[in-house]
Every structure is written in structure tokens, then in C-alpha cells.
Amino acid sequence: MFVAALFTILLTMALTLVRALRGPTVFDRILAVNMFGTSTVLGIAVIGFVTDRPDFLDIALVYALISFITTIATLKYFEYGSFGCGRREENG
């Protein structure tokens, strides 16, 4: 049962990777990375249940935190050209 769910999650990761490679704009790639992170969270949780080790869920929780921070940091860097120290004039 868990292996079936794991297989669908791996398939979703493959589809997300295709979008990451093909994405015309950089935002598609950031979106694909964000979705890949969420699929990894689900995959780790299911693997934790397959190998019957409940401590995997902590890893999944931490990975969800990191995936979120990665997306926000990439966006911040990409939009302001740096990590927001020198804000450009036109956006006030």
C-alpha cells in the first residue's frame, strides 16, 4: 500500500523535473523546485512508514521548512538582485 503511494510520488517528482528542465522562465523552475520539495516531504513521510521508523517524520518536517525558505530566498535574491540590502528605487 505504501509502495503504491511511493510510486505515485516518484512519478510526480519525475513530472516536476521535466517542468524544471523545460520551464521557459526562471519562475517555472522555482515553482518546479518548490513542488519537488513538497513531493520529497511526502516521500520521506511514506518511506518512514514503509521502513517502520517514525523518526523520519521529523526529517520530513524539517525538509518542509527548508523547502519553504529556499523558495523565499531564491525569490528575494532574484527580485532584488541581492539579498535585499540595496532596494531598487522604483519599488519605493
Partner: protein, 109 residues
């Protein structure tokens, strides 16, 4: 009772997997970046929710269950925020969405 839990978790796990694949296909086939944001939302709310619910049914002890609920709530809060920041940043950098009055087929991909 145990059989009921197994059947219910089978259904929710496969349902969650199905919606994950739907989200994955949606992100591939939707024409425009802004419509792909919707596909990523499908995965995180429905796919993750059903899969984590299926796991919750199989959780023996309380702390495993509470961790699953925490993961789900955390995903529920952070992914919409990330998607919103993504859309704002894309719109801010002058990347116009494909409106239907542009006429003709979507330009990119």
C-alpha cells in the same frame, strides 16, 4: 475495525497519489506560468492532505500522528505563502499573464 482502517487508508493513499499525479501533469500541460501555480496548489493541498491522512490512519502511537498533523498544517501555511510570493515576484518583474483577450494561442511553449 482494523480492516476498515486498512481499506480507508488504501483509498486515501491512492487518492492522494492520484491527485499528486494530476498536479504533476497539470504543471506540465497548463499553457501559462500563472495557471501552473494552480497545479502546484492541487498537489500541496489535496495530494499531500490525502496521503498524510492515509498515513495518519496507519499511525500506531500518538506522537507519530501528531507529527503528521503538524506536517500537514505546516504545509498548509507555507506553500500558499510561497506560491503567492512567487506570483508577486513574477508579476513585479514584468512577466505578464496570458489573458484570453491577447488573441490567438499562448505565445510561449
Amino acid at each position: 475495525m482494523d480492516l476498515l482502517l486498512d481499506v480507508l487508508s488504501w483509498i486515501s493513499l491512492l487518492g492522494g497519489g492520484f491527485f499528486c499525479i494530476v498536479g504533476g501533469l497539470g504543471v506540465l500541460r497548463l499553457p501559462d506560468f500563472y495557471s501552473r501555480l494552480h497545479a502546484s496548489g492541487v498537489i500541496d493541498t489535496l495530494g499531500a492532505g490525502l496521503i498524510l491522512f492515509g498515513l495518519l490512519l496507519q499511525a500506531e502511537s500518538f506522537d507519530v500522528g501528531i507529527r503528521l498533523v503538524l506536517i500537514f498544517f505546516f504545509l498548509l501555511f507555507t506553500v500558499p505563502t510561497a506560491t503567492h510570493a512567487l506570483a508577486k515576484s513574477a508579476l513585479h518583474s514584468g512577466f505578464e499573464p496570458e489573458l484570453d483577450d491577447d488573441g490567438g494561442d499562448p505565445s510561449n511553449s
